[in-house]
Each structure stands twice: as C-alpha cells, then as structure tokens.
C-alpha cells in the first residue's frame, strides 16, 4: 500500500511546487478572509494534488497495469484515500512552516494562526470534496469527471456562503436551536471529536462505494 502512496507523490512531484507556492500566496493574499484562510488554502492545495494524480492515472492508463499486479482492488482504492490525507498533512505542515517564517521575518501582514476550528473546518471541507469526487473517479476515470470536478470545486466556495445564508433564514427554527444548545454545552474538543467522527463515517461510506464501483469496472 505505502508504495502506491509514494508512487502518487513521485508522479506529481512537480505539482507540489505549485501547491506549496499556493499556500504561500494564500498567507499573503486575501487579508480579509480571516480564519477561513487555512480552509481555503488547504482545500485548493489538496484538491489540486488529488486531481493531478487522478489525471495521471488516466493518462497512463495505469489501471490496466495495476490490475495485472497481485494487488487487491481495495488496496488501490484505499491508497488514494490515504494520499488525500497525506496531502492534507503536508499542506498543513507547509502552512505552519510558512506562517512561522513569515512571522519571524516581520512582514506587516495579518497572520492568522492555525486554530482547532480552522483545522477541523479544513479537514471537513477536504473530506467532503474528496469523499464525493473519488467514488465518481473510480467509476468512470478522470476524463469523464472533469465537469463534476468543476462543479464540486466552485460549488464548494459558493455553496458555503449559500449554506450560511440559508442557516440565517432558519435561525429561529427548533432544530437549529436544539443543535446550537447541544453545541454550546460542549467544549471545543468534544465538538471537534463529534465532527471528526461524522467525517470518518462519511469517508468510510465513500470508500465502500468507490470500492464497489472499482470492482465492477472493466479495463
């Protein structure tokens, strides 16, 4: 399994330069974004890398070769999911390192430190995007997912503000009140744990759907 994850990194190693540069850019730019900066940066970083690695799978028709090897289909699928989280970790590490360097160089820009809230927010966003994208990729390959890719990525940014607007409209509803009350009584760590558990369940379902699709695919 680890060799497939390393393979992904080797194949897209050039793309990493752009992805790290993007993280750097996001720290400098969008000064009014506040804590959402990290989420915006990490989502683009991870998504860019996942897309590129999926594109190379298609370009090289690698599924033919991978499926001639003594590899379980579940290993191939799981390796892609693990890659996503490895990119997430690398992107987070890059954000922290850049932030530290920029901070110590004394630039007159607002630096938003990585908080538990923004970290969880970023993780949820990356998980949602990948969790929706990967099953479709494993069903039809990269080329046919291009439109979905576009919709997902932009839908994500516009969708969040749309969602917030909707939530504002329903501010007084009983359900939202109950949820808010439940959350208010809990510490940040507990809330984060609940969210992470939900993310894990969502990803597990996504993985099983991906595997089912991949097992039924012909090459």
């Amino acid at each position: 399994m680890y060799n497939l994850v390393i393979k992904d990194i080797l194949v897209i190693k050039k793309q990493f330069v752009f992805a790290f540069a993007y993280i750097l850019l996001i720290i400098f730019a969008f000064q009014n974004m506040g804590e959402a900066k990290f989420a915006a940066g990490i989502v683009a970083f991870t998504y860019m890398l996942v897309m590129t690695s999926c594109a190379y799978e298609d370009k090289n028709k690698a599924d033919v070769m991978l499926n001639c090897l003594p590899l379980k289909k579940s290993t191939v699928v799981l390796a892609k999911y693990i890659s996503v989280f490895l990119y997430f970790v690398l992107g987070t590490a890059a954000y922290l390192i850049f932030q530290y360097i920029i901070g110590s160089m004394g630039f007159s820009i607002e630096i938003y430190p990585l908080t538990l809230q923004s970290f969880v927010g970023g993780l949820v966003a990356v998980s949602l995007l990948s969790g929706i994208y990967l099953p479709v990729f494993f069903k039809v390959g990269y080329m046919k997912t291009k439109i979905l890719n576009f919709i997902l990525f932009f839908g994500f940014f516009f969708g969040i503000s749309f969602l917030i607007d909707i939530l504002k409209d329903y501010q007084g509803s009983a359900l939202l009140k109950n949820i808010t009350e439940f959350l208010q009584n809990k510490s940040d760590a507990v809330i984060a744990a609940v969210i992470l558990a939900l993310v894990f369940i969502f990803l597990s379902i996504s993985y099983y759907i991906s595997l089912k699709f991949y097992k039924n695919r012909e090459f």
């Binding site: 090289n60 001639c68 003594p70």
Partner: protein, 288 residues
Amino acid sequence: MTPVLEIKGLRKEFKGFGLKNINISLNSGYIMGFIGPNGAGKSTTIKLIMNLLKKDEGEIRIFGMDNIKDEQEVKNRIGFVLDENYFYEELTVEEMKWVLAPVYKAWDEKTFKKYLKDFQLPPKKKIKELSKGMKMKFSLAIALSHNADLFIMDEPTSGLDPLVRSELLDILSEVIQDENKAVFFSTHITSDLDKIADYITMINQGEIILSMPKDDILNNYGLVKGGKELLDRDIRKSFVAIKENQFGFEGLAKDRKQAKKMFGDKVVIEKPTLEDVMLYYVRGNQNV
C-alpha cells in the same frame, strides 16, 4: 498433469462482437502462440485471463486455481507484457521498480539488475524518454524478475524493429528452457511464432478455429496449386479454403498426404507458413 493455463467455455458479449466458447489448454514447458487478425479477440481473451474484463460464462484456471477467487496468488506467478506501455511515464525506471517490487512476493532484485544491464536500460531515465523497444524491454525485465511461472504477452512485438523482436524471442526461448515455465504469446505477426512456438491457437471473429502443435500444422497442412479443372464440389469441400483466379487455384488442404494421393502429379504441393494457414482460415474462399 494440471495445465498451467486452462480455459473452458469462455464467453464474453460486447455490442457487435463476442467471444464464443473459448477453450485453451497450455502445459508447462511450452510456448503457445495465440494468433489472429486485429480485432479477432486476442486482447479480449488476455484481458479476461487477467480479470481486467468480467466474463459472461466459462472457467479460467491458472496453475489449477481460479483466476478470480485466487487472483492475488495467481498474479504473483504471472509475468505480463502488454501491447503498449501502461507504466507511469513520469517516473524513472528505478522509481517504477520501487513501486512494483514490493507488490511481488518473490521479487528477485539480482535478476532485475542483471536484466537492466543486459538490456542497457538506464535506471535514472524517465519511462517517457525510453524508445518503444526499451519500454518493452523494461516491461520484460519486470516480468522476468519475480520468479513467474506463466508469461502472458499481448502483442509484445507489435511496432518493434526486427532486431528487438528477435532479441525478445531469444529471451523467451531461454526462459522456456526451465520446464516449469510456460508462455502464452499473442501476436498477429506469425513469423514470430515460426521460431519459438510449440503450440498454435488461432482465433477469428471471437472463435477458436484451430489449436494444435505447430509442427503438426506445418507437417500436415499443404498449399496445393493446380488447374481449376481439377476442382469439383466434393474436392472443394476437402480444402480449408480455395483462392481462384483465371489461371488456376491455390488451396489449403488439412492433409498434405491425402492431397498428394488425390491429385498425384497434377498439382504442386508446398509446405505452408503459419501466415498462409491464418490467411486461408480468416479470408475463406476467394475469387480473384
């Protein structure tokens, strides 16, 4: 003795094409040439063996095991070379090897290094920078470096120059010196098989039309040439196919000795090549 590769009643339907009741049996120690024109079903058969396509019906057993139930175990002992490059072109030869080596239980680094040297494959070069011949040699080096017992090759010689083709065929002859190994080799270049194949299986329009020892084909079949007046309905039936023109006929007979007995000195009978046999089977009767 359990065949290394045994296919029984294999069927696969596509829109406008289908494999119909494919039966193949290959024992260790032999090379089987799998020939047929483009689009005959060679690659489809190989993809079904490798479980890249889902079969509709039939059984595929490799080393006596089911190719799907025991997929990992079976594939550990298969060395494959495909018709084009399916490796990650962005990786170097060495990087690709790092990815592939841990996948095989019996990876043999020493043998791999030996083949890299023999084939003059530069480990630091990216796969996309290799020539077609070099890519095929890399594929072959991987196939030969994990103690495989069955080699499955899908048109490995297509698009290669005669020198590289000949090199590949020499290596396969060397591999088969070990009687525990077998090679299943698809091609539409029949001259590849003249040199190395022990068995010939011919496929056309999704059906196996012939599967027998190569020497039996070359020793028994005959290319008969003579005047058209010699042909009547019964005699025509005794040929695989006949090609006629205004001067006479040329036909492929399954039994050279019987043809000699039938026509005596009125015809010329020659030993056919595998290409002749394939062409007559595929084209059928022709009037030019």
